[in-house]
C-alpha cells in the first residue's frame, strides 16, 4: 500500500451507527464548513459537541502542535528494529495512511474492523467503532537514534541529515532519568478528547510497526495541563495549580513563528516548518505536597492557588511584577519560585509552547500515587528548553524541585506537515 492511495479512502466507523448518529455528525461537520454531503432528508437540528469533530490532518505544519490542546494524550516512543531503509520508508507511508484514516474518524485499512475475512484478524482493532473523530491528532517526531547508532554511524542512509540541534539532552541537576523511560528512535503523540480514540490510534500504529519498530515506553495523560489557545481556560496540574497561563497561544502568530517553527536559516532543509519536541516525565511527590500549607504552596509556585494570579497581585493574566515586595519587605514573588525562574525575563526571553498532560500510573505499592506531569514542549530550538530547565533544575533553584523528580526525557525532531498525498518525513528520503 502506498501513501498515495489511501488519502480519501477508508470506512467511516460512524457509518456503522444508526441513521440518527450519522445525521448528527453530518450536520455537525457540514455546519463546521467541512463540506461533507448532507443526508437526503434534512435531519433535525442537532447541537454537536465541537470536541467530537475531526481536525485536519494535512497542512504546512503537523497537527497536534498548535492545535488547541485536546483533553487526552497517549504518547509512545518506539525503537526501530529494522535496519532497512525501504522498510522504514514503507512504515512511514503506512503510518501516514493510517493516521489520515483515523484522524478523520475512519477505520484503519481497506476493510476496517469488521469488513474483512472472518478468518483474518480485523485490519482495525475496533475499539473506536461508533466513536466520533474526537479531535484526534497524531504527531510524529524523529529521535537522534533514527539517524545514527550508538557509535555515531548513520542509519538508513540518512548521512548528513541529522540536525545539529538533535543532540543528546544535557543532564540537569536532580535528574533521575530511567533509560527505559527516555529516548526512542521515533515518538508518536496522539491527542484526542476521548481517551479511547487516542489509545486506538497508538495501538493500531504500533500494530502496523511490528517487525520494524518496537515500543520503548508509552504514557497516557489526561487533563491537559497547558492551554494553547486563548479560547481555552487554563487547566490545573496535579498540584492543584493552573498551569500554562503564560504559555504561547496559537493566536499569538508572531510568538508561534519565532519560538515554535524551524525556519529556513535554522536548517536542515527537511525540518523547515517542523519543530523540536521535548518530553519530560516528571514524578510528583503528591502526598508530601498535599501536606504543605497553602502559603507554602503559593510561595513555591509564585502564584495564588485559586485564581492563578501572580503573588505580586492581580488576576491570572496580570503582568507579573517581580520587584514587588510584601508587607515584610520580602519579594512578593519568591526569588526561587517556579514562576520567576521559568519566566522569559530570567531566561534571555526564551519561551516554549507547552502541551503537557497529567498522569496517574496507579500507585507505587507504598500507598502513594504514581503520578505527575508528562511535560511536552515544542520549540524552534531545543536550546530554549535547555535554557529554562537550567534555571529551574537543582535543589538550590526552583523550590518546586523538592516535590518533583524528572524520571524520563526525550528529544525529537518533528518534520513539517504533509500534503494530501505525502508521507511523514518524506523529504528525508527524497
Amino acid at each position: 500500500m502506498s501513501a498515495d492511495d489511501g488519502a480519501g479512502r477508508g470506512l467511516s466507523r460512524r457509518r456503522l451507527l444508526g441513521a440518527a448518529g450519522l445525521g448528527a455528525l453530518a450536520a455537525g461537520t457540514a455546519g463546521a464548513g467541512a463540506g461533507y454531503a448532507m443526508a437526503d432528508t434534512s435531519p433535525p437540528p442537532v447541537v454537536v459537541d465541537p470536541d467530537a469533530l475531526p481536525i485536519r490532518f494535512e497542512g504546512v505544519h503537523q497537527a497536534g502542535i498548535v492545535t488547541p490542546s485536546q483533553d487526552r494524550l497517549y504518547f509512545v516512543a518506539l525503537d526501530l528494529t529494522t535496519e532497512d531503509r525501504n522498510s522504514l520508508i514503507a512504515l512511514l507511508k503506512q503510518w501516514t495512511v493510517a493516521a489520515r484514516q483515523m484522524t478523520q474518524g475512519n477505520d484503519v485499512g481497506e476493510m476496517g474492523a469488521v469488513g474483512g475475512s472472518p478468518y483474518s484478524p480485523p485490519e482495525d482493532t475496533g475499539e473506536a467503532l461508533g466513536l466520533p473523530p474526537s479531535g484526534l491528532t497524531i504527531t510524529i517526531g524523529f529521535g537522534r537514534g533514527m539517524f545514527v547508532d550508538d557509535k555515531g554511524k548513520a542509519r538508513f542512509g540518512l548521512d548528513g541529515l541529522l540536525p545539529d540541534r538533535l543532540t543528546d539532552m544535557p543532564s540537569f541537576s536532580g535528574d533521575r532519568l530511567d533509560d527505559a523511560l527516555s529516548g526512542g528512535d521515533i515518538a508518536i503523540q496522539a491527542c484526542a478528547n476521548d481517551p479511547q480514540v487516542a489509545v486506538h490510534a497508538v495501538r493500531n500504529l504500533v500494530r502496523i510497526a511490528f517487525g520494524r519498530a518496537s515500543v520503548r515506553y508509552s504514557q497516557m495523560g489526561f487533563g491537559r495541563t497547558s492551554s494553547t489557545s486563548s479560547a481555552q481556560v487554563t487547566a490545573r496540574n496535579l498540584f492543584g495549580f493552573k498551569d500554562g497561563t503564560n504559555n504561547i497561544k496559537v493566536e499569538e502568530k508572531k510568538a508561534v513563528d519565532d519560538f515554535v517553527w524551524v525556519h529556513q536559516e535554522d536548517g536542515p532543509a527537511w525540518l523547515v516548518g517542523g519543530s523540536y519536541l521535548v518530553t519530560r516525565k516528571i514524578d510528583m511527590r503528591i502526598e508530601t505536597w498535599d501536606r504543605e500549607s497553602l502559603t507554602g504552596q503559593q510561595a513555591i509556585m509564585g502564584r495564588t492557588k485559586g485564581s492563578g494570579g501572580p503573588m505580586s497581585g492581580g488576576d491570572e493574566f496580570a503582568a507579573i511584577d517581580f520587584d514587588a515586595t510584601n508587607e515584610d519587605g520580602e519579594p512578593a514573588i519568591d526569588l526561587k519560585s517556579h514562576v520567576r525562574l521559568a519566566h522569559p525575563d530570567f531566561n534571555n526571553g526564551a519561551k516554549l509552547l507547552r502541551r503537557g498532560y497529567n498522569f496517574v500510573d496507579g500507585s507505587n505499592g507504598l500507598g502513594q500515587l504514581s503520578a505527575g506531569l508528562f511535560f511536552i514542549s515544542y520549540q524552534r530550538d531545543p536550546a530554549q528548553f535547555v535554557q529554562i530547565q537550567r534555571s529551574l533544575a537543582g535543589l538550590n533553584n526552583d523550590l518546586l524541585n523538592e516535590y518533583i523528580v524528572h524520571v524520563g526525557s526525550g528529544l525529537f525532531a518533528c518534520p513539517p506537515g504533509v500534503g494530501p498525498t505525502g508521507y511523514w518525513g518524506e523529504k528525508l528520503f527524497a
Binding site: 528494529t81 475475512s117 472472518p118 478468518y119 483474518s120 484478524p121 511490528f210 517487525g211 520494524r212 518496537s214
Partner: protein
C-alpha cells in the same frame, strides 16, 4: 566410481552423474524401496540420491555418539517425514511417500541446527496438480506425519522421564524434563484440542489452586524436582502424566487436525510463546522456558511448512514474510543455545534486553502468521 572426481564425495558424484549420465542407468540407478542412512556426528550418507516416486523406506543407523534425527524436507523445509530420537548405535525406519521432485535428507546429530543435508531427486510419474481441497488434505496429511513422528518420540522421552522420577534420580529427571517437553510443546495444538486433558497435563499451580483441583502434570513434578530437589510423592503424578500423554497422542492420531486448525495452531503456538515463554511463566521452577520456546517455534514452522504449497499459490508474498521472520526469530533465539551440549540459557539468566529482543522477533512473526488462516480458508 572410476572417475577421477571420486574424491569429491558421494553427493557431488551423484549430482554429476544425474546431469551427465541420465541415459546410463547403471551409473545412477534409481533406488526404490529400501534405502539406508548412515549417520555419524559429522556425516549423513543416504545410500542413493536418486529415487523413484512412491513410498521409500529409509533405515537410519546412528553410528555417532550423539542422539540424532533424520528428516526428509521438501522446498522451504516442509517435512515430508522424519524420525526423532535415534540413539547412538540404534537403527530406526522411516517410510515416506515421495512424489516426483527434489528433496533433502538431513541428519541432525545432537538434534541441533539445520542438519547435514543431502539432495534427493525423485523421478517418475508426475504428480497431478492438486485441487484446492486436495492441497488442503495434503497439508493436513503432511502435518499428521509430523505429529506422528513427534508423538512417538514424546512417548519414549516421557517414559524415560517418568522412569527417572520413579527411580528417584533427580539429576536425570531434571535433564530429561526439558527434552521430553520439547516434543510436547512442538505439537501442543493437538493437546489443546482435548480440553480436559491439557490442564491436568500442562496446567500451572495458580490455576489449579483457583479451580480447587489437585496440581498435576509436568509442572507438578517440575516443582518437586527444582524446589524440593527430590521426587517424594511423585510416583502417582508421574504415572498419571504418562497415561495422559499416551491418551492425548492416541486422540490426536484418531482425529488429526484439519488444514484450518493447523493454520490456527501455528498461530496458537506463537501465542504460547508470547504469553508463557517470553514471560518465564511456563517453567517457573526450572527456568527451562527456552527449550519450550524453541519447540513452539519449530512446531509452528512445521505447521506452516505443511501448508506451504497452499500459501505459495495463494499468497507468495506472505510466504516470503514468514520465511524472513522465522529466520529472524531463529537468529535471535539460537544465540542462547550452547551448540556443544544443545542446552539453552535458563530464563532467569537472560537480560531484560535479551528478553525484549526475543519478544520483538516473536511479535514480528506473529503478524504474518495471523494472516495464514484466512488464506487457508479462502482455499477451502
Amino acid at each position: 566410481m572410476k572417475s577421477p572426481l571420486a574424491t569429491l564425495g558421494v553427493l557431488t558424484i551423484a549430482a554429476l552423474s544425474l546431469a551427465a549420465c541420465a541415459s546410463d542407468p547403471s551409473e545412477s540407478k534409481s533406488a526404490s524401496g529400501d534405502l539406508t542412512v548412515q549417520a555419524t556426528d559429522s556425516e549423513c550418507t543416504v545410500s542413493a540420491s536418486k529415487l523413484d516416486a512412491g513410498p521409500a523406506t529409509f533405515k537410519v543407523t546412528n553410528k555417532g555418539s550423539k542422539v540424532t534425527e533424520f528428516y526428509v524436507y521438501a522446498d522451504g523445509d516442509r517435512i515430508m517425514g522424519e524420525v526423532e530420537n535415534v540413539g547412538p548405535g540404534l537403527s530406526r525406519n522411516l517410510v515416506v511417500d515421495l512424489p516426483k521432485g527434489t528433496y533433502e535428507g538431513a541428519c541432525k546429530p545432537g538434534m541441533i541446527g539445520d542438519g547435514i543435508r543431502q539432495t534427493l531427486t525423485v523421478t517418475g510419474e508426475a504428480a497431478k496438480p492438486l485441487s484446492d481441497s486436495e492441497e488442503l488434505t495434503a497439508a493436513a496429511d503432511s502435518y499428521a506425519r509430523y505429529v506422528k513422528s513427534q508423538s512417538d518420540a514424546l512417548i519414549v522421552k516421557t517414559e524415560e522421564f517418568v522412569d527417572a522420577v520413579k527411580a528417584g534420580d533427580v539429576d536425570e529427571a531434571k535433564t530429561l524434563f526439558p527434552i521430553a517437553r520439547t516434543y510436547w510443546e512442538r505439537i501442543e495444538p493437538v493437546a489443546e484440542k482435548f480440553g480436559d486433558l491439557d490442564p491436568i497435563t500442562d496446567g500451572r499451580e495458580p490455576d489449579a489452586i483457583a479451580e480447587g483441583v489437585d496440581f498435576t502434570g509436568w509442572h507438578r513434578i517440575e516443582k518437586q524436582l527444582w524446589v524440593e530437589n527430590n521426587t517424594e510423592g511423585m510416583d502417582v503424578y508421574a504415572d498419571q502424566l504418562l497415561d495422559n500423554v499416551k491418551q492425548i497422542v492416541q486422540l490426536g492420531q484418531d482425529a488429526p487436525l484439519t488444514a484450518l486448525e493447523l493454520a490456527q495452531g501455528s498461530k496458537g503456538l506463537l501465542d504460547e510463546v508470547a504469553t508463557g515463554k517470553i514471560t518465564g511463566e511456563e517453567d517457573e521452577f526450572s527456568h527451562t522456558d527456552l527449550w519450550d520456546f524453541k519447540a513452539n517455534i519449530e512446531g509452528s514452522q512445521a505447521a506452516i511448512a505443511s501448508l506451504r504449497p497452499v500459501l505459495e499459490e495463494k499468497d507468495p508474498e506472505l510466504v516470503k514474510q514468514l520465511d524472513a521472520q522465522f529466520k529472524a526469530v531463529d537468529e535471535e533465539l539460537n544465540q542462547h543455545q550452547d551448540t556443544t551440549t544443545g542446552e539453552w540459557t535458563f530464563y532467569d539468566k537472560l537480560t531484560k534486553d535479551e528478553v525484549k529482543a526475543l519478544s520483538d522477533a516473536v511479535a514480528a512473526l506473529s503478524e504474518p502468521i495471523s494472516q495464514v488462516a484466512a488464506v487457508v480458508a479462502s482455499s477451502a
